[in-house]
Assembly symmetry: C2
Amino acid sequence: MMYSMTDATATAPRWLDAREQAAWRAYLDMTTKLSARLNREMQDDSGISAADFAVLVPLSEHSDARMRVLELARALGWEKSRLSHQLTRMQQRGLVERSDCSEDRRGAFIVLTGKGRDAVVAAAPKHVESVRRYVFDELSTEQVDALGAIARIVAEQCDAACSGREETCGSDGFE
Amino acid sequence: MMYSMTDATATAPRWLDAREQAAWRAYLDMTTKLSARLNREMQDDSGISAADFAVLVPLSEHSDARMRVLELARALGWEKSRLSHQLTRMQQRGLVERSDCSEDRRGAFIVLTGKGRDAVVAAAPKHVESVRRYVFDELSTEQVDALGAIARIVAEQCDAACSGREETCGSDGFE
DNA sequence: GGAATTTGGTTGAACCATCAACAAAGACGC
DNA sequence: GCGTCTTTGTTGATGGTTCAACCAAATTCC
């Protein structure tokens, strides 16, 4: 809201024109509704959250189903604190376990449990079906390419703002 | 992740093809980075959160700067609980006040404070500048239209999944 | 009038994200 | 060895979101 406005400021900002406003509102509408639907369906269909899923996927793709915390954080593009909290909750739910690392006694291995593996194996195909249903089945190939191109441009612009600071600016890895 | 996969399930799901995978990854990357940047800049530049801003905007657009809670909730597309929690925090920060409603003694009016008005007036132009910088300054008019069209399609598909249940499925109203 | 229901709104618990602070182990310089 | 710095990871606080439960006032139905 407030992308149009009767201007009363000194440094006249350039407000969005009608075309831009329409696109922006639609974008906000899409992102909130889509992420809500995907989260909810993951929870309802498979009993795990989107954040759980994001963590389980890289773990399950490792041959020995265990990773160091920072290795996992880098794979997800998350900061370590966020991951640590998430792992604590997942451990309580029995999806992962922590085990000590003998080579580096500061470190910890995160190990996928049987329950965790079952969850991610069950969730993955349903999640893909959801993404398909809400997005790709509805778009033309030109639109898919356009979406990719637009998203890369915007993401890169965000990255540009971050560098200079060595902020994390990590990607989500969700879904 | 896991949009490709060696298939080992009974009901062979249709995985995403390379084009779709690329678009999906880019989409996720864009949404996480863009919302992180916009949230952070709002906080840094104006000292309020994106959620605060979302609430302040419709309030500030009302002539008497006060609204009933559910009126506000509908304007935002939020559920009442979410809004109630948000209002409690905003009240603590001095951005709004609650006042009793004489006509309906269950009800409450939410009133914009002077501090709240100052905050939203200061935040709005900076926020528009951010949106411009990260999105519209980088896209062609064709891309802006394409984004609008794609977003409307996906949002509508999400709506379709919700109706049948009278779920809220509200839009955010943020930004 | 009086019981049942609906409406308006709050609360508490659980989850998720971010920031700052911390502790313990390793690495480096001497 | 000893001090400093860096790496690894956890913790606590605060803010945001959702769900279910709840209370009280208003409405509906008889």
